[in-house]
Symmetry: C2
């Protein structure tokens, strides 16, 4: 009987996270304070994040223990199964083996709880009573809602209004887990009221939602803000994906030639790939590939520069690939990939040559996603289809070259609450958007005034 | 580190289904032909089902081999994990251990593919090109859509109209897997047109949808009908759930005092419980409990009688507990439990005293479901909350009696595409319906003209 998956028992779950900062051949540039232009210190971040998470953010320890109460919650769905996609391989008819980590098995259906749970836990032991966050498509907001309920914290989610209206199921998920979800811009914050005063019908944006969530946290006692991607401690928490995958591949004596993940802020991509990037740093021959939407080509076209993480310039200046903090990507269905920037760690490793990037157009990704669903059964999230499109691409290259190849990718989440997007695709209502020269000029203008980041 | 779940490797998947017909202390009554009143033979069923499934329907072999191509597809999500619900146990604060089989890990999110895959396979090798079926909440229709695509069969689903409207995502799932889905009653069949003529606003029912699907299959060449519950071969295919659970419990040296499942047509309930019922038949002390909605109390109030499986009287007369083939349950959110009848095997085992039944009201089941989601993370389907309500009940009884108890139940599916129901509950818009004396009189009238079934 052929083998379809490799599972791990509870006791085989990794007990430590992997911190790639310990293995960087060249150190990262620091985040800068936009006012002073000086590196940001822990005390600058203290009003927003609890100090234990700030310590993780700047740590260069290679292995960091996962606290027991966090492990207990992660075990509700982890270790996630590693699959071999026999049926999709057959469809492609190429000389490839395709493995994937199924992160859709978590309660909200994506990799996001891997960091939501530890963030809620560290806030809890720090003394936080109440966490505010923003969410675009809703994956992060729903994961944090669940995690906060598990550690008895109040959770307030500012959801981009247009998503709030178009994706009711994600909001309902948050409510079911006991969180409050607001359509941003709201009249609960100064930032929100300012936007509403000028544009009463504003559909909202991630930039506005971040501003509201940060302000909401700053305005209240024992309140902190949480971010679901981009930051170093988020990449750290997600490393459990790749560590499990390595254990699972070891069990069957295999190792990938290519490791693939879709990248929005970078967290699911880094989660799977960083343990393999480590191998690459120490000389292993493994290709690491990040994929993104062609209309939001942060890694493939965005310059490396200091830029803000949000529209309202409330974050420190981060050294990253960016399309400009005021870039508003077209409304593609992969909402989780509509971000102007990229995790500084991912950006840095791209600069160092350990990570390649490739962009795919929306229609081709849905085609790959539907073919996947009709062979492997599981319906992927629109974000995940960007990784699958690259798998197809790599398989076709292997076929053309007549070379055998082993591919591993991160199946970051299922698409069961994104089915309206599939409906749009199946009824021919989806279009491809282009990143234009005008978009590029705008990006360059947006970062022109910041300190210069050098690779 | 405490243990949260027991997983099985691919090679540990059961290779045979368990057929409880081999162990019945007293044989079942046969289904009858409504015209002649004589037992139905294989040839009577041949226009509706392929002969290989009919053979399984009447088989009394104890163990039936699972064909290799079926195993290969089942391995996409099976063996499913057996969980220990530590967090929910803590909430209940009762002297109980709670285990559950997580059948929500399948691509459509329920136990239904366990029989959809073999049914599609047997139809395929029989030569069927096109399968018609009905679906209530959409779990069965989506599972069969996926299975048909895997074996390259055309799939047509008649979905109960009230669910079609309340649960658009289920229809979109079917479309994504390449099936056609219609809101029943439709004008595509004589049965549908008859209902619409009398009740243009009919919310539909499983009984009506079955009539339509059977008619649709009979009207076309190389076309067959598939049923997702009730029949013996469906219970057979679902037995893999209980067989896995027994292996998993054996690994940790445990055995349940109570086995619980919600019962609509009986398939998820039988799937988990029949291997344990077998133990009970051979003298083991284990309580088997089926739960149902108070407004559709088939097992707790329905007489045991010969009755039709559908409204239009297109099926044979089945010996079962029934509320009358013309009973249309109130539109509760647990659509999968809105069925007037019950699997003859389950009905028979209730009569023999091996299965108890209990009914729960809708609001109490949602309360249990929300408490579950807020402790264990996973959001249960509304059907599954009827099993959870019984778990709470059993735990409270154990607490009152000061007795330790080990509970095992079937977590038949997740509720991620049923979130509108949770919204209705959380905003106080859900009500409890009663099964009235008038309903009971109507049930007795509906079965009065059929041959008498004797326990």
């Amino acid at each position: 009987m052929r083998r379809t998956k490799v599972v791990l028992e509870d006791y085989e779950i990794p007990k430590q996270w992997y911190n790639i900062q310990a293995d960087l051949p060249k150190p990262m540039l620091p985040p800068l304070h936009p006012g002073t232009g000086m590196p940001v210190g822990p005390e600058d971040l203290a009003p927003i994040f609890p100090m234990n998470l700030i310590e993780q953010e700047v740590s260069t320890e290679r292995w960091i223990d996962i606290p027991e109460p966090v492990l207990e919650k992660l075990l509700l769905w982890r270790p996630s199964p590693l699959y071999r996609a026999h049926n999709f391989e057959k469809l492609l008819d190429a000389p490839v083996k395709i493995y994937f980590k199924n992160e859709g098995v978590s309660p909200p259906g994506s990799h996001k709880p891997n960091t939501a749970v530890p963030q809620a836990y560290y806030n809890k032991i720090f003394g936080t009573k109440r966490i505010s966050t923003e969410t675009g498509a809703g994956q992060w907001g729903s994961a944090l809602s669940m995690a906060c309920k598990m550690f008895d914290l109040e959770c307030r989610v500012f959801m981009v209004k247009v998503s709030y209206q178009q994706k009711p199921y994600r909001r309902l998920m948050m409510n079911t887990w006991g969180a409050q979800c607001f359509a941003s811009p709201t009249d609960l914050t100064e930032s929100g009221r300012a936007v509403l005063a000028e544009h009463p019908d504003s559909p909202g944006s991630l930039g506005i939602a971040i501003s509201e969530a940060v302000e909401d946290a700053l305005m209240h006692e024992n309140s902190r803000y949480a971010l679901g991607s981009v930051l170093n401690h988020v990449m750290l928490h997600q490393s459990i994906i790749g560590l499990e995958a390595q254990k699972q591949l070891e069990k069957i004596g295999d190792y990938p030639d290519v490791v693939i993940g879709c990248a929005g802020g970078g967290s699911n991509f880094a989660g799977l790939s960083f343990p393999f990037v480590r191998d690459a740093i120490y000389g292993k021959n493994v290709k690491i590939l990040a994929t993104e939407p062609a209309l939001c080509p942060t890694l493939t076209r965005g310059p490396f520069a200091y830029d803000f993480g949000d529209l309202a310039k409330k974050t420190p200046l981060l050294p990253m690939h960016t399309l400009g903090h005021d870039f508003v990507p077209a409304p593609v269905h992969a909402g989780g990939l509509r971000y102007h920037g990229m995790a500084p760690l991912v950006s840095h490793l791209v600069n160092l040559g350990f990570i390649e990037a490739r962009a795919y157009e929306q229609i081709s990704t849905f085609e790959a996603g539907v073919n996947w669903a009709r062979t492997e059964g599981f319906i992927p999230a629109p974000e995940t289809t960007h990784a699958i499109a690259a798998v197809v691409d790599e398989a076709m290259r292997a076929k053309a070259e007549g070379k055998e190849k082993t591919i591993l990718f991160n199946w970051s989440g299922h698409g069961l609450v994104d089915l309206a997007a599939y409906d749009a695709y199946l009824t021919g209502k989806i279009q491809d958007y282009q990143f234009s020269d005008a978009d590029m000029e705008k990006a360059l203008r947006a970062i022109a005034t910041h300190p210069k980041a050098e690779k």
